[in-house]
């Protein structure tokens, strides 16, 4: 990330911030979608996060921490968006796993479908840690720093998320794969 741009934006340069927005929007959107599992919610979370980041940027004293800082804002925007539109949670769209699968066998395909279903029952704070760890590949210490939580809390959130998902997969594995079970 260009620290000069961050410094300029911190001082109120909207053009500099626009350049930063173009650099970070897609990676942030990808993370938001994976936490919220809904395009509309992810779009709103991204938009709110970007505006919040602009407003709060003068409080960021270390430009080198911009990426971690804006991820924290994004995750909180995801929490807020989910709370705001909790009533729409039942309408979350499932991905078309049939179309996007590669050469995985039907068991793996079914596992992913179960992951999709099970993930929606995992609390958001655990989802965030799970996504930052498994999607962005961040180590737990860095996740803790990014989210402003103790490392032990990050570890336990990852543990509980993993346990929930594994339980769902194992329960599904005990059942035969049925035609049309995928949403």
């Amino acid at each position: 990330m260009d620290q000069v741009l961050v410094e300029q934006a911190r001082k109120g340069d909207r053009d500099a911030f626009a350049s930063l927005v173009h650099q970070v929007s897609s990676p942030l959107f990808a993370v938001a979608f994976r936490i919220l599992r809904d395009n509309g919610l992810a779009e709103d979370a991204l938009q709110n996060a970007l505006v919040s980041a602009w407003r709060q940027l003068p409080h960021l004293h270390d430009a080198s921490r911009f990426e971690a800082w804006i991820h924290r804002i994004l995750v909180h925007a995801c929490y807020a968006e989910s709370r705001r539109r909790r009533e729409s949670a039942s309408n979350v769209r499932l991905l078309d796993l049939h179309g996007s699968s590669t050469s995985d066998g039907s068991r793996d395909l079914a596992d992913r479908d179960e992951l999709e279903r099970a993930f929606r029952h995992v609390p958001l704070d655990q989802r965030a840690v799970f996504v930052l760890h498994h999607y962005l590949g961040l180590p737990l210490v860095e996740i803790a720093e990014t989210l402003g939580i103790p490392a032990g809390t990050a570890r336990s959130r990852l543990h509980y998320a993993t346990r929930s998902l594994r339980s769902a997969i194992e329960a599904a594995a005990a059942m035969p794969i049925e035609e049309g079970r995928l949403a």
Partner: protein
């Protein structure tokens, strides 16, 4: 799925599915919102010097001791001393809030740098906070047609931000109204809309526009709307 590695591999493969590009319209909408959004000012002061050597410790200690002495004299002095010594005023001395209180804009054409600060008195802003007795201070900014005002409790905790556009506000207001999710707010006494995306209330009258952002991002937008509506009613009668 029988082992940790297979689970992790499958989980990662599943996470790779899904969109990776932010829709252009979302980014454009965010940039449009940023155009009319002020940054929060960082007014926090370091609570101590970054490097405290023995000399600076001594200086800080002396300053603290002097402050304690002055406070002690002011508080205890009148009781210990006789007639003719320091006496408490029969009426309360004006507080920092009172001295900061502002009057409504006298002229609709006001373009002074504190024009935005003159829309809402600090005493009115202070009632929004949990610690109004700490004192709310207003900080003007901007020049010409667009001025801003930032209110902070004790000069530290951000409480309220307003931006006043004395001319050219109608065009900006029309742009704001096109944002997705923007809601019309009734009972303000003039045109007003609330943008839940930024929790900002926009109050428009003629070619003038005032944006009001109360509270922080941790507050629920609905709660912020209630506060901003109260302030919007005040502002509507003053522009």
């Amino acid at each position: 799925m029988s082992d940790d590695r297979k689970f992790e591999r499958n989980a990662r493969a599943w996470l790779e599915l899904g969109p990776t590009d932010a829709p252009d319209r979302v980014v454009e909408d965010a940039l449009l919102a940023i155009e009319t959004t002020s940054q929060e000012r960082d007014l926090r002061l370091p609570w101590r010097l970054p490097i405290m050597n023995s000399a600076s410790r001594l200086a800080a200690g002396l300053v603290a001791a002097a402050a304690v002495l002055v406070v002690g004299v002011v508080l205890v002095g009148p009781r210990l001393g006789g007639v003719g010594t320091i006496q408490a005023s029969p009426s309360p001395s004006p507080s920092p809030i009172a001295t900061q209180a502002v009057t409504p804009i006298a002229s609709p054409a006001a373009t002074a740098s504190d024009a935005a600060c003159r829309l809402i008195a600090t005493t009115e802003a202070a009632t929004l906070g949990d610690f109004p007795d700490v004192g709310t201070i207003a900080f003007p900014s901007g020049t010409g047609a667009v001025t801003g005002c930032y209110y902070a409790e004790g000069g530290i905790n951000p409480l309220l931000t307003t931006e006043y556009t004395s001319s050219g506000g109608k065009a900006a207001f029309d742009l704001v109204k096109q944002r997705p999710g923007v809601q019309t707010v009734a009972d303000i006494g003039t045109d007003a809309v609330f943008d839940p995306g930024t929790a900002t209330l926009y109050v428009s009258k003629g070619d003038k526009l005032v944006s009001i952002v109360a509270g922080t991002t941790t507050s629920a937008p609905a709660a912020r709307l209630i506060i901003e509506t109260k302030l919007g009613k005040l502002v509507a009668g003053r522009i």
